[in-house]
Symmetry: C2
């Protein structure tokens, strides 16, 4: 009770956090604001009150007016965008002007930028980057390990702190993880910690999960929140507690309940992906993997090779996009393609068997389908995909998928890849060594 | 009061449009706000001044406070979210309260909702939907052809109009196209249109471009704005004019100037990508393409097969991730790998030549490199990539790239793919048929 009362009055969090996304490209609709979503998720994990987000263009006057407003109602402001070298990049300057502060150069930053450029072998005129070294005198710098534009942590007036980040998502995220998250946790946490554990699901939809755990979604501590992506659902369990042990004790009963209820639909936790889970399992079994891809056109291979260490189990693939290469590289008989069509269970199965043998692997997956937008007909419409998985002891699993007509080419390719990875995962589970 | 609410001038656009996204799921980071991006693009096409966007949670007090603020600085507000049947859906109620208006039932809407439900066979409790029939008396209804929640067009005070939409993107978009766009065009357009033309660059950085066209970036009509992605820069030229012809006449001189200045760095316009431009060129030349990928692990193939129609020129690839498959599938001599290493100009070149021959293609590209995070050493560090392009008449181009140590695995893979595509594009340009 005490903390509740405190929270509404003296607690530094009572005003809450705001996110300000700066960039005319957002107002013109050129890009989707994924930064705001990512930061929101992070703030939510940190347990901070976050009531409002704003987006504004590259206009100094409007940025100044908005930051003034925010400084009156919030105690922490996270900005993204406008830290680059172009005349459009106005964030640091505008923030300084808002509070009548001047900017001064940090010479060591200029040395750092020059070093970064010489390593990358960039040959362009460096003078435009110089503005990235100017900050208010008492601002703390947020190092940017992936780019030239640093951010800052600045408290221009008592009780109001601003953190600035570049708009490039990979740079912003790295800076957040390396510097910002600890700073925010230390300065704005009320002593309790927030711990999250995310369970990841495949082969089941968000609404099916939500319906089954209606009661869990209403919990206050831990909270359970669903997030849906293409072909994947996440449930995040977040506990507020005095320490990590207490938090784990709050999370674990809910986690165990979910694991019992959904068992094999859960493929992993936190940063795991279908690819990483599969690679881990194959490494343990000392079994290798190859692919024969047609309609997925390399996406299955690249989803595996995106994972560090994949070379321990993944040997390679044949992308037989043309029927000619299906014949010459995978020895698919011409008459099999003529009789059943390249998009058929028969051809997919032969692709899987032959790839496994020719590429000398324990497991192989073959995909043949119609990703569209053209190439479909009434019998074999866009969205029809055949998948075949071949494994040790003449194991064969054949899967036929018919994706909805509302799915576009890329979605059909991505969903097909998910089905491949998830099904091999389930087969390995059923054949545990 | 009335005069206070009057606009600063007679131009109805002087205050501009705002977008307000309502929903706690946005503040929690559960979903990305694609609605704001979509509406922004629409507003931009309509040529309306759009200076600011906000996001707020499902909290009546905060919604009311924010809408009051917006009503003082804008003349058109577009809201999304909060029109559903749950207790969390507060938008219509909150808007009415903001302007001290009451809500009354539109009986015909209730009949419509009941009809919609009986058609879809939905079995859930209908009483909760009743609130979707309540609107301020003088509000005009926006029909929702894809769902049960209608929106409204309401001018609660002179010079300030609110349009409400559900948060479900497909419903919002359909309602926008069917009702809102005409209303907005008629009521808020000053007769001018906005037309944009985007030029896309590869092989040159954003800051280098910006420095060279400092004067163009300051133009008022057309405006020129740079956007940077990994390995790609876009310049968007936007003209405001009375009609399309006039807009093109404003854009074209700037576009020609840019084309002259940057010539081969510009690979395409608007929705074109390096992949789509390359495919188009190869289709025209009736030449085919294959890949031999090692460190890019399928990403080069999938970037080509992401494009509809790529099967006209792309035959397939060999992903020879292991040295064993480099030997067995691409006939790379074992002693070549021993002598120079798998990551070497010699091996990349042999991969390209052999893939071209074995996969029977006009062009082939081979990549071998170290994407990291491990596998590098002092002589061959992470980020070192060899690319070889083989073509008709024994054409060979060898490229060595050393990507910055700040780049992660995925970025090295993606940048390598960009270098491949852009270099083949440049080779084709120099060998125009």
């Amino acid at each position: 009770m005490k903390s509740n009362l405190k929270h509404q009055s003296n607690d530094p969090n009572c005003k809450g956090v705001e996110i300000l996304s700066i960039g005319s490209e957002l107002l013109l609709g050129n890009i989707v604001n994924t930064n705001a979503q990512w930061i929101s998720e992070e703030l939510s994990t940190l347990g901070l009150n976050h009531f409002r987000q704003s987006t504004i263009g590259d206009n100094s006057e409007r940025i100044i007016k908005l930051i003034k407003e925010i400084s009156l109602r919030s105690n922490l402001l996270i900005t993204t965008g406008g830290l680059g070298p172009t005349p459009d990049d106005l964030t640091t300057e505008a923030i300084a002007k808002t509070f009548n502060a001047s900017l001064s150069e940090r010479e060591y930053l200029w040395d750092q930028i020059k070093t970064k450029l010489s390593i990358s072998g960039s040959s362009f005129n460096r003078s435009s980057l110089k503005k990235q070294c100017f900050f208010p005198k008492d601002a703390q710098i947020i190092n940017n390990p992936r780019g030239t534009a640093p951010g800052m942590i600045w408290e221009p007036i008592k009780g109001f702190t601003i953190l600035t980040f570049p708009g490039v998502p990979s740079e912003m995220k790295e800076m957040w993880k390396e510097t910002a998250v600890d700073y925010i946790r230390n300065k704005f946490s009320d002593g309790s910690i927030f711990l999250s554990n995310t369970l990841k699901f495949s082969g089941i939809g968000e609404s099916t999960i939500s319906e089954k755990i209606d009661n869990l979604l209403k919990l206050k501590n831990p909270t359970v929140a669903p997030y849906a992506n293409l072909g994947e659902v996440k449930l995040r369990i977040t506990a507020r507690a005095k320490n990590e042990l207490e938090a784990r004790n709050i999370i674990n009963p809910v986690k165990e309940k979910l694991k019992k209820e959904f068992s094999k639909f859960i493929f992993g936790e936190n940063n795991e992906s279908l690819s990483s889970v599969l690679i881990k399992e194959l490494i343990q079994r000392e079994e290798s993997l190859v692919f024969a891809e047609s309609c997925s056109g390399g996406l299955l291979s690249s989803s595996i090779t995106a994972i560090p260490g994949s070379s321990q189990v993944f040997k390679g693939s044949i992308i037989s996009y043309s029927n000619e290469l299906k014949q010459s590289l995978l020895n698919i008989p011409e008459n099999l393609i003529k009789k059943f069509g390249a998009v058929s269970e028969e051809v997919a199965e032969t692709m899987a068997i032959n790839a496994k043998e020719k590429l000398n692997s324990d497991w192989s997956i073959a995909i043949s389908g119609i990703a569209g937008p053209s190439g479909g007909n009434k019998e074999k419409p866009v969205g029809l995909v055949y998948i075949s998985i071949a494994g040790p002891n003449d194991h064969i699993t054949n899967i036929k998928k018919m994706f909805s007509s509302t799915r576009n080419r890329l979605e059909i390719q991505r969903l097909s890849v998910n089905v491949c990875l998830n099904n091999l995962r389930l087969i390995l589970l059923s054949k545990s060594k």
